[in-house]
């Protein structure tokens, strides 16, 4: 709720202070594209459910200005991110960095997938080994017999 309140207060300011996200874009389309992409990977600290690109909070404006200034000064994406992380911590990155505390996060899905694949294999092996003669009923004869048995009014397979 305070985020909304801040938005109200700051939009009053932004009307007075002039253009916000609509800074006169530099004629350099590549720079704009790079900034946009970078800003979508950064988190707004005020409106915490928006990216830096989308947020209209005052701090977001300030940080976008900083990011632009750094980019124009020749800093790389990694350096810009490091600049922000030094001030706000990893919280500001929507793409969680790979470090000792996040290896489980990044490895998790693939470990789960590997585990799932192993499970799949084991289940299939086990079934194949368990009843090798319980093959399908391919022929019409067997199907007819099955139909007869089913129609004889017994509920199928008890647990």
């Amino acid at each position: 709720m305070s985020c909304r309140l801040l938005l109200v207060v700051l939009s009053a300011f932004s009307f007075a202070a002039g253009a916000t996200a609509m800074e006169p874009p530099s004629p350099d389309a590549a720079l704009e594209a790079r900034l946009k992409k970078l800003e979508t990977e950064l988190r707004c600290l005020v409106c915490q459910n928006q990216t830096l690109a989308d947020s209209s909070a005052g701090l977001a404006d300030d940080l976008r200005r900083e990011v632009r200034a750094l980019a124009v000064a020749g800093k790389s994406d990694a350096e810009i991110k490091a600049y922000l992380v030094a001030r706000y911590g990893d919280f500001v990155l929507y793409n969680p960095p790979l470090k000792s505390t996040t290896w489980l996060l990044w490895a998790g899905p693939f470990a789960l997938l590997a585990g799932g694949a192993v499970l799949w294999w084991i289940v299939l092996r086990r079934r194949a080994l368990r009843a090798p003669t319980a093959a399908s009923l391919p022929d019409a004869d067997a199907q007819a017999r099955a139909r007869e048995m089913l129609d004889a009014a017994e509920p199928p397979g008890a647990s």
Partner: protein, 668 residues
């Protein structure tokens, strides 16, 4: 008076729910027919009482009764009627009442459409649902009473959040909750099966339509939420991997695995304990989602106002319901037995692989959503996990699943020799590969990811066609029409749903691959060319709306000089709350949308709105295919449920009372 009536109805509903939850269950345990027979009437009475309570709350909103705290906090007399009614579920308390109403509704439906269920099973199913209702009713009455009075009454309400003053608010929560709550039926069937010790293909047949309907509603609900976010939030996004979006997506993923698993259990009597577990997990995720949104443990645009007491209550409720059901599973699943066997390559094995991929995807989304909480709880720092993570993890997991979707329907049950699969599908593979290679160039740019997306959707279309053609060719009917009519609704439902996913994949691929965004400053009369269109800004004008003041811009969209559409994006300030809102203007098209929203006026003073403005222009190719695909999936689900065999069982029961037999469907 009316609010008190509603409150009283809730208390009565709680008492009836207690009876509903305990007596039939006990009756099933000790085989007491009269106790079990209480299930239906109790469920219906409870549902009606909750409906009465809900009606009272809705009435309070409609009649602007600001002596009710909930109405005063969430409504306003200037609010149009349909939004006043939607505001009934616009708050934590109201939405909980909606949940409870839905639960009552589903219980009522189960009590109606269950003539062929054995009494013990029906009793258990309705009792379990009753116990869940007890939990929600207790929660409402003790921590979240929607009928709390405001003394002295407010002269005017605080207004419904402007973001919610939208048709989306009228439809999205009810449909979404139909899905969430609908999984409680599958859950109840699972618990009933564990309790009763009987878990077989027939159980799966009873359970399946309920689950599929819930899944279809959830699909629509999520799609509506996504579409609503797209046109309302002003920056053209449609999915943010926001915690609450994830909270709805995880039950969906699990539900998708569940409906496939149920198919296997119904047809082949196998995967039984796995199916039961999925049913428990799907509903558990619905409940966990409820917790996440209302407890304050995660930040989200959707989060309701939080209160520690509520968080604790839901957590205890979760512990009892989920912990209890998983404990029951641990205890009883071992008795369920393994079921039949199948080959390494067979329809069963592809469905098992599909299930595993979906569950791994769900677990990954859960991991990403909760990881910041894990680290914070362990005092290891604060991180954010957002779209870059989820995108990186989700798509690689879903791509194989999408591929398998083409193989599954072709593969035979029990044994599907690879050479045979290859023969039947190599044509579809070729179609997919060629389309993937060629189409991106036609559309403007080739990239591996775009090609992959196009391959998967073309593959799904082609493989679906292969399946249908094989059926028609292989049938013994004379005419094409007869051959088509011979296939069941269940089969067509599957085809439609799979096609829907193909359409969805195209939408996502092409939007992400080819969308264009431009932030420009435009003077009055100035134009800008974006992706083959010309956008001309004609200035803004101010004016009042029903409960807001608006600044409306005019933007003309031209293609090749010809006027295509005039768009009017707005910026509004709502009267009651003073809250600003940006309303985008969208020109919707089959091949894509043109999306325009107003930024800020460029000038520095009072009359600067008459000058140049910042304007955001988006071109979103094929974006509506995303939601069209979801709609097709849901329609496929509904179509599948309309299958004759679910209705046949009723007449069978009438003629052959001893046999709820399953007619062997032709290689379905």
């Amino acid at each position: 008076m009316i609010p008190e009536l509603g409150h009283f109805a809730l208390i009565l509903a709680l008492l009836v729910a207690l009876v509903q939850g305990i007596v039939p269950l006990a009756g099933a345990a000790i085989d007491a027919p009269r106790w079990m027979a209480l299930a239906r009437p109790a469920a219906r009475a409870q549902a009606l009482l909750v409906a009465l309570a809900f009606g009272c709350l809705a009435w309070s909103f409609a009649s602007n009764d600001f002596s009710v705290l909930n109405v005063a906090s969430n409504s306003n007399s200037e609010l149009p009627l349909h939004y006043r009614l939607a505001a009934t579920w616009g708050s934590h308390e109201g939405s909980l009442l909606l949940w409870t109403l839905m639960l009552g509704g589903w219980s009522f439906a189960v009590s109606l459409f269950s003539r062929n269920l054995p009494p013990a099973l029906l009793a258990r199913v309705i009792s379990v649902m009753g116990l869940v209702s007890v939990g929600f009713l207790l929660f409402l009455l003790f921590t979240s009473n929607p009928f709390e009075r405001l003394v002295p009454p407010a002269a005017e309400g605080r207004d419904l959040n402007p973001l919610l003053q939208d048709p989306g608010m009228v439809f999205h929560p009810p449909l979404l909750y139909m899905g969430y709550v609908g999984f409680s039926v599958a859950f109840s069937f699972a618990i009933a099966a564990l309790l009763g010790g009987r878990l077989d293909a027939t159980w799966a047949r009873w359970s399946r339509p309920w689950t599929t309907v819930a899944w279809s509603f959830l699909t629509i609900g999520i799609a509506l939420g996504s579409g609503w976010a797209y046109y309302t939030l002003g920056w053209g996004g449609w999915w943010f991997w926001d915690p609450v979006e994830n909270a709805s997506f995880m039950p969906w993923l699990t539900g998708t695995a569940l409906i496939h698993s149920l198919a296997v259990t119904e047809k082949r009597g196998t995967f039984k304990s796995w199916t039961v577990l999925l049913a428990i997990v799907a509903f558990s995720l619905s409940l966990v989602g409820t917790f996440l949104v209302r407890s304050g443990v995660l930040t989200s645009v959707h989060a309701f106002a939080t209160d520690p007491a509520r968080g604790v209550f839901i957590l205890v409720f979760l512990a009892i319901v989920v912990g209890g059901s998983l404990a029951l599973f641990a205890w009883r699943a071992v008795n369920v037995g393994l079921g039949g066997t199948f080959d390494l390559v067979s329809r069963e094995s592809t469905l098992l692989a599909n299930n595993i991929l979906l569950v791994v995807a769900m677990a990954s989304v859960l991991l990403g959503t909760l990881y910041p909480l894990f680290l914070d709880a362990l005092e290891l720092g604060k991180i954010s996990v957002g779209p870059p993570y989820f995108d990186a993890v989700f798509y690689p997991l879903m791509a194989p699943a999408a591929f398998l979707m083409g193989v599954g329907p072709i593969a035979r049950w029990n044994r599907a020799p690879l050479p045979e699969l290859w023969t039947r599908l190599k044509w579809a593979l070729a179609v997919g590969a060629i389309t993937a290679l060629v189409l991106p160039f036609v559309l403007g740019r080739w990239s591996p990811l775009i090609a992959l997306g196009i391959f998967l959707s073309a593959w799904i279309f082609a493989a679906t066609a292969v399946s249908l053609i094989a059926r028609v060719k292989g049938s013994h009917h004379g005419s094409l029409f007869a051959a088509l009519a011979a296939n069941s609704s269940s089969y067509y439902g599957m085809l439609l749903a799979h096609l829907g996913l193909g359409v969805f994949i195209i939408g996502v691929t092409l939007v992400k691959g080819y969308e264009i965004e431009r932030d420009v400053r435009l003077d009055v009369g100035e134009s800008v060319a974006v992706g083959g269109y010309e956008f001309k800004f004609l200035g803004v004008k101010t004016g009042p709306g029903p409960n807001y003041r608006a600044v409306t811009g005019t933007v003309e969209v031209r293609k090749d000089g010809r006027l295509v559409e005039t768009l009017r994006p707005e910026k509004r300030i709502y009267n009651a709350s003073g809250q600003p809102m940006t309303i985008a203007a969208i020109d919707v098209g089959f091949l894509g949308d043109r999306y325009v929203s107003l930024g800020e006026p460029v000038g520095e003073n009072e009359d600067s709105i008459a000058g140049a403005w910042g304007v955001r222009i988006y071109l979103k190719p094929f974006i509506d295919w995303i939601w069209a695909g979801c709609l097709l999936m849901a329609l496929g689900g509904f179509l599948a449920v309309s299958d004759r065999r679910y209705r046949l069982a009723v007449t069978r029961k009438a003629t052959a009372p001893s046999a709820p037999a399953s007619a062997p469907a032709a290689a379905d």
